[in-house]
Structure formats: C-alpha cells, structure tokens
Amino acid sequence: MNDKKKKILLVEDEKALCLLYEEELSREGYEVTSAFDAESALELLVNGSFDLIITDIRMPGKDGIELITNIMGLRRDIPIIINSAYQSYKEDFMTWAADAYVVKSSSLEELKNKIKELLES
C-alpha cells in the first residue's frame, strides 16, 4: 500500500469554508492546499502536483467553469469535483469536463465519498 498522502487542491473563495474543508479532509488523511481564486489555483497547478481538484463555481474573477476549461488545456488526468451551492450549474454542459458535481451541504460525507471513489478508480 502506498502511504504517501494524496494531495488535494481546493479552490474556494470563502476562507472560513477552506479552513473547515482543510480540517475535515486532513483528518481523512489528505494533504489539502487551498486557493482562493482561479488564477492562484492555476499557478499552483503549473508549479505543483495534485491528485484531485475540488472547485467552487461562483468566485470573483474567473468562475469555476472557466477554471475547469483552463485546466483541460493544461492537463486532463487530474479528477475534478465541482462543489457548488447551486444545482443550476448542472445545466451547463461545460461542467461535464469535471468528474463529479457535489452540491454543498452541512455534511461533507457525500464529498468525502466522492473523493474516495475518484482517487481509488
């Protein structure tokens, strides 16, 4: 078994939420790096290596859908989870570039299950 911690890039403009996710996901054994906007996320991606990306959609500057399309131009092998408070973005077929869409909720169980599923597949 590979003991190396899986690295997650979290793109979320709400800093309090980032802290919560970092804490919860670290407890699951993941190494989480947060970016508060799409531009910083792209910079981190160019300079670092990640096993999975979680991104919000509604963010200042580039939105999450634009970020995903940019990521597709850089590399397509990293699984992406959209984590938005809104269901309505599901109607945008560009979200298909992501591997999963998890609507934000008070419990992170669905998100944790999806992370596990994607990292194991």
């Binding site: 634009e66 597709m72 131009g73 599901k90 077929f93 560009m94 979200t95 298909w96």
Partner: protein, 340 residues
Amino acid sequence: MSELRKDLVTGRWVIIATERSKRPDDFRRNNLDRPAERIGFCPFCEGNERKTPPEVYALRPKKTPPDTPGWRVRVVPNKFPALNPGKPVQKLTQGVHQWLPGLGVHEVVIENPDHKLELSELPVEHISDILGVINSRIEAIETEVQYRYVQVFKNKGREAGASLSHPHTQIVATPIVPKRAKEEIYGALQKFRQLKECVFCRKIRQEEEEGKRIVLKNEKFIAGTPFASRFPFEVVIYPITHSDHFTDLSGKDLISLASILKELLGKLKATLGDPPFNLMLHQSPNPAASRDPQETAAAYHWHIELFPILTKVAGFEWGTGFYINPVSPETAAESLRTGF
C-alpha cells in the same frame, strides 16, 4: 392596426402588433451581436469521449469500440441529470400537494464530431441519420411505460439556453405528460370531436389553399408560419400525411424531413443572420402508457416548432399568457421564402 389572433388548437391568443416594429430585416443579426464562445475545451468533441458518460447509442464504424473516436452521431445520458431512470412510481400526496420522485431520462444527442459544424451545414443524409437516431431512442425509451412523454428539443445559441455551441439535441422523458403537451392534445381532441377530423390536417389544407404562410413544402412535409404565431419568424413543420407520433417515420420520410429542415435552417440563416433558436418536437404521449391512444392518434398530429430568439418574453406575456408578435406571420413567411 394590431390584430388579436386565436390559436385554433390551444385557444391561446396572440397580438400581432406590426406597427410596433421594425421591418423583418431589423431582426437580422451581425457577428457583433453574438456572445463570444468562452471555452477552449468541449466535452462533446471527438477525442473527449471519456468526459461523457458511456454512450447509449452511436453511429460508428463496426470495428470501433464504444466511447472512442470515429463516431458520426453519439447519444450519451446527461452526466449530471435533473431526472434519473427508475422503476414506475405512484403519485404521492402531502396534504393538498402532489409529488413524485425525480424519475426520468435525459439524453444528449451529439449531432456530429465537429464542434463548429452546424446542423444546417451537414449533408441531408447526416441530418437524416440524426433524426433516425432520435427515432430509435424514442422507441427504446417508450418500451418503459413509466415514461409517459418524450420531449425532444434543440437549443442553439446562448440566448436560446444552449450552454455549449457544439451542435446537440436533447431528449427528456418524464413520468407525467407536461402541461403544454396536455393542453395541445386536449385542444386537438375537442376539435376532432367537433370537426370529425384532425384539426391539424384541416389547418394544413387551408394553409395550402391560402399559400401566404407557407415557407417550404416537399412531397412529405410542409413548413409554414402559424396563423397565431407567438414570436417573429416562428415556423412549424408538419408531416402532410396524418401521424401523431414521430416514430411513425420510415427511412424515406426521414430523408424528406432532413431535407426540409436543412432548407428551412438555411433560410433562417440567410434572412436573419444565424439567430439563436429553440426547436421542439411535439408528439403524442407514449402510446404504451396512454389511456386513449387510439383517439389521440386520430386527433393529434406531430410537428416540429422552431422559433428564433429575436424578442424577449416579459411581464405581459408571463402574466397573461398572451404574446405580442411584432412581425405578422404572412410577412415572416414571405421574407423566409424570398430571403429578404
């Protein structure tokens, strides 16, 4: 002077208010009107098959495996659907309210592998293949009686609701017959009892006699602007021979339909400068799940509605159900026929 016109089948009234406008040519768009495409990646393009759910149907060379390049038309389920397939369910009640679990089918027909190749630019044979694929999917979905209505629609352009410009059509099957379909079928049944024949067949005959709202006609189909058009340049395509369901079409019919559709889209492009549009198939409900399939089959007549998005639906329309149309259907038909 404006005119109030009533749709014979639905009973819906529209206001043809030509003095509010504008010549037909004023609706022509130029390139600057179009919102820029914001993407550099498209999940529908050939080579990106891994980004879609596994295909449920495809036209591809026999030697190519599913979900690989080489296809001509590809159908995939919606990756993040609002409705999910499942077993038949009963309507549930909660006090005075009714509800159902979100049962349904939502599929996307990717019309061709090339992101930029519009439906109107494809050869007639390819359009016929797309229509044949849609036909096959409707047949497959309707084997399951929990899906009472299959809706086929195409949104082209952002203003028409398309989130991606790669040409595609959507198929949505629902466990209930939608209100608009129900109203149209109810209206057709009422008129059938009164006229002792299909009201759409009667309308087609009258349109052929008058001629002024016909845009195109071939041996099997007729396209024209409805007498009570809700929107400028709204067009309807009818099969000339009576039929209530799209799946009645044979191979030759598909070629004829593909041909009139291509020509019509070409005329819209030439007259209005490639406008965004919505295209919808109206057909009878799943016959396997209908209470009176025979009477509906006799009274209803399937058709395709197409309207370019040239005006905005606003408070008056939402509030009253009336529509105000600034271009008379006669003027619109003439413009489309002549290209001016």
